[in-house]
């Protein structure tokens, strides 16, 4: 029995555990009980403290539950403003389907679909039959978007090759087999993206030796490009062309970039070639003039290539000199039917394979710039003499390194033929005047509003109306009011005359202050406070919710309601309430969470102290019992001897009396 209970149970003078035999045993038991009771006094105090702390911890848990419910109610308001609460209608469903998601806002949008685009498809030119070499499946080259990919099926059958393509490059192209006639099975490739993707399947023999097309020029070919967009305004001006150490004055027919470039090519003596380039994107033009020297190294001691208008400042910016140029006039001869040329850009020890749409220098340069533009810039220069074009490709390092660049050409067999050309989708949003091109039919109209294009709108925009349901918001706001009032009620039980376990604790005031910050949130918009949403704050600190007020506000100006509420992360009431509740509920730093953790740690420490002290009291009790038992046994023995001797003496006295 623990000492404390022993003490509390010792109502009689006799110990429950100590039963002596001497006449003083009851006194001994009383001494033990008293000593144990005195020793147990600190344990009693600690136990009382633990009981108080446990009650406070239980109350904190209750408050935590209420604040968590309030946090959840705030989140539900955010959800009621999210994508699931919105509906979208389209005036012409044949043109687009519209879906709404989080971030959507009510409003009227429009989209004018010029074209829904097309996915490029290609099909084998004949029945698929590629013989395996040495009983090994062939490694084919799949071409998608000018880039080459290696594909090896389990065998050379159309099905195996299509499966291998789908397994490795299903994100780029969809392959399937089609029986177009009895005993005529072909592979059909369909691009996953809209637009021209140049789909093909090639078989490049491993024994094919690529032809190197470039010559290295360590001294470099000087190149410059107009620094800003070309200014073609004004009457024809005189330009000064700077070629190395030479200068030439030219007067083109107009100030257009095309006229200036053609004049340079006509009069400069063949030391430099000018070309007009368009750096514009998305349908807008940004014309520049590119100057490139025809010979490697400095011209009259200088690599400078510049243009000055009417003696003004230089218009060109010097670029990194090209260190590689095609050795001979570029051959753009088309491949014969059944074969196709593929190219490789060699950059130092790296080799990148690609297949342009055709063999022209422009297509090859465009493919290089598109695929490997981070490493190298390819430009086409026409070294024509006597009116005969002589196109070459120049390669400039983009990284400034002295890497050796080359272009290699290989010809292999090709099996596919374009069946349907690809085209980008084009559309205009909200009559902005900007025609956008897209490689997907899923178009973002606005944040959270996505249209899937179904057909062209025939020149007139279709209307998209996005509206939000009030009922979801009504339910959420009502739940918020209930959760808030429940939290207030729980805090009230900790105040006043009949205070709860947390009475007088600062956390009660702190939590009340947090609730007050939520309920009194104000904004400078059309709706300035929660009263505008039908949440009236009473003098007792409780909300009274009037659903009609919210409905009226939402019908009158739903934008104002949305603006006042804002979002959990963006701003407005929801962010304010979320931040406040996070300050109480954040797992590690929240006021309630830290208080609960501290309280539990304190209770654990007290329990450990009580256990230690109780053990000491128990040890004291045992020691006292042992000592008292020994004393009692001694006294009992003495009493027994005394009784024996006293009896002997009495008997002797009686005998003496009898024999007198």
């Amino acid at each position: 029995m623990p000492a404390l209970e022993y003490f509390m149970a010792s109502t009689s003078g006799t110990s429950a555990l100590f039963k002596g035999t001497s006449t003083y045993s009851a006194d001994f038991a009383n001494v033990i009980s008293r000593s144990v009771a005195i020793a147990s006094l600190p344990v009693t105090l600690l136990t009382n403290s633990k009981t108080t702390l446990t009650s406070q911890s239980d109350e904190l848990t209750k408050l935590d539950t209420k604040f968590t419910a309030l946090q959840s109610a705030v989140q539900k308001i955010a959800t009621a403003l999210g994508g699931s609460a919105f509906q979208a209608t389209v005036s012409s469903p044949n043109v687009a389907d519209v879906s709404v998601a989080d971030g959507a806002r009510e409003g009227n949008y429009s989209i004018n679909v010029t074209s829904i685009g097309a996915y490029e498809t290609s099909m084998s030119t004949a029945n698929w039959h590629v013989v395996e070499v040495s009983s090994r499946p062939t490694t084919f080259t799949l071409v998608v978007g000018n880039q080459n990919y290696s594909v090896t099926g389990a065998d050379n059958s159309a099905k195996s090759v299509a499966d291998a393509i789908n397994a490795s490059y299903g994100n780029l192209v969809q392959a399937t087999t089609v029986n177009v006639a009895p005993d005529d099975t072909r592979i059909s490739l369909k691009s996953v993206a809209l637009g021209q993707t140049n789909l093909d399947l090639l078989n490049i023999p491993t024994s094919a030796i690529p032809t190197s097309l470039q010559t290295q020029a360590a001294a470099g070919y000087a190149i410059s490009q107009t620094t800003a967009s070309w200014d073609s305004s004004g009457s024809p001006a005189t330009y000064t062309l700077v070629v190395g150490g030479f200068q030439y004055d030219i007067t083109p027919a107009s100030n257009s970039a095309a006229d200036v470039a053609s004049t340079i090519n006509a009069v400069d003596g063949g030391q430099v070639r000018a070309a007009m380039v368009d750096l514009g994107t998305g349908g807008s033009h940004d014309y520049r003039i590119s100057l490139e020297s025809t010979t490697a190294g400095p011209i009259d001691g200088s690599m400078a290539l510049d243009l000055k208008k009417s003696g003004g400042a230089g218009l060109q910016t010097q670029q990194t000199a090209a260190t590689s140029r095609t050795t001979a006039a570029w051959s753009a001869t088309p491949d014969v039917a059944g074969s196709r040329s593929t190219y490789a850009l060699v950059a130092g020890t790296n080799k990148f394979s690609f297949t342009p749409a055709d063999n022209s220098a422009a297509s090859v340069a465009a493919a290089i710039n598109s695929l490997y533009g981070a490493q190298v810039t390819a430009s086409v220069v026409d070294l024509e003499t006597g009116g005969n074009p002589d196109y070459r490709i120049s390669l400039q390092s983009k990284t400034g390194s002295s890497t050796i660049f080359d272009i290699q050409k290989t010809t292999g067999s090709n099996y596919q033929n374009e069946q349907t050309p690809g085209a980008l989708a084009s559309y205009e949003i909200n009559s902005s005047g900007v025609i956008n091109a897209s490689a997907t039919r899923n178009i973002t109209i606005s944040d959270g509003v996505t249209a899937t294009l179904r057909g062209a709108s025939g020149g007139s925009p279709v209307d998209i109306t996005v509206t939000r349901s009030t009922s979801a918001l009504n339910t959420a706001v009502s739940s918020f009011a209930d959760a808030y009032n429940a939290a207030v009620d729980e805090l009230i039980t900790q105040r006043g005359l009949s205070t709860g376990a947390l009475g007088g604790q600062p956390i009660v005031g702190q939590l009340s202050s947090l609730l007050s910050s939520i309920s009194t949130y104000s904004s400078s918009g059309q709706i300035s406070g929660l009263a505008g949403l039908g949440l009236d704050l009473g003098t007792d600190g409780h909300f009274t919710y009037n659903a009609f007020t919210l409905m009226a506000a939402d019908l009158t100006s739903s934008t104002s309601v949305t603006s006042f509420l804002g979002s959990v992360t963006g701003g407005g009431f929801l962010k304010n309430a979320t931040d406040i509740l996070n300050s109480a509920e954040a797992p590690v730093t929240g006021l309630l969470k830290t208080s609960e953790t501290d309280m539990k740690a304190q209770i654990a420490r007290l329990a450990a102290t009580i256990t230690a002290k109780q053990a000491a009291v128990d040890a004291l009790q045992i020691t006292l019992q042992n000592r008292m038992a020994a004393a009692d046994a001694l006294i009992a023995s003495m009493q027994q001897q005394y009784s024996y001797l006293s009896g002997l003496f009495s008997a002797q006295q009686n005998a003496n009396q009898m024999y007198k």
């Binding site: 097309a118 099909m123 369909k190 069946q419």
Partner: protein, 96 residues
């Protein structure tokens, strides 16, 4: 009589709008029947139509094959999904 161009049908097929292509084809077919009946259907025109029909047939065949593949993929994906439990039957049902 003005000949209706066949190019819009080709464009509709290219962009995958087969419903629109069919509507356009029905419209053109009526015109072709009229050309045939009044003897104005030239051989070149007939060749043009024949080429379009054959090309459309192959494109539609390929499209069907791709869609069949997608359908098969969806079927396989469905087989690997968690089975939806059957709706629980209530012992007591009430209605008002």
């Amino acid at each position: 009589m003005r000949l209706l161009p066949l190019e819009p049908i080709r464009q509709a097929v290219i962009s995958g709008e087969f419903g629109r292509a069919q509507l356009l084809w029905q419209e053109r077919a009526a015109g072709l029947a009229e050309e045939l009946s009044n003897g104005s259907l030239s051989e070149a025109r007939l060749m043009e139509v024949r080429e379009l029909v054959e090309w459309s047939r192959i494109v539609a065949l390929c499209e069907r094959a791709h869609l069949q593949d997608q359908l098969n993929s969806l079927h396989v994906a469905g087989e690997y999904e968690f089975p939806v439990p059957p709706p629980a039957h209530r012992i007591v049902e009430t209605s008002f």
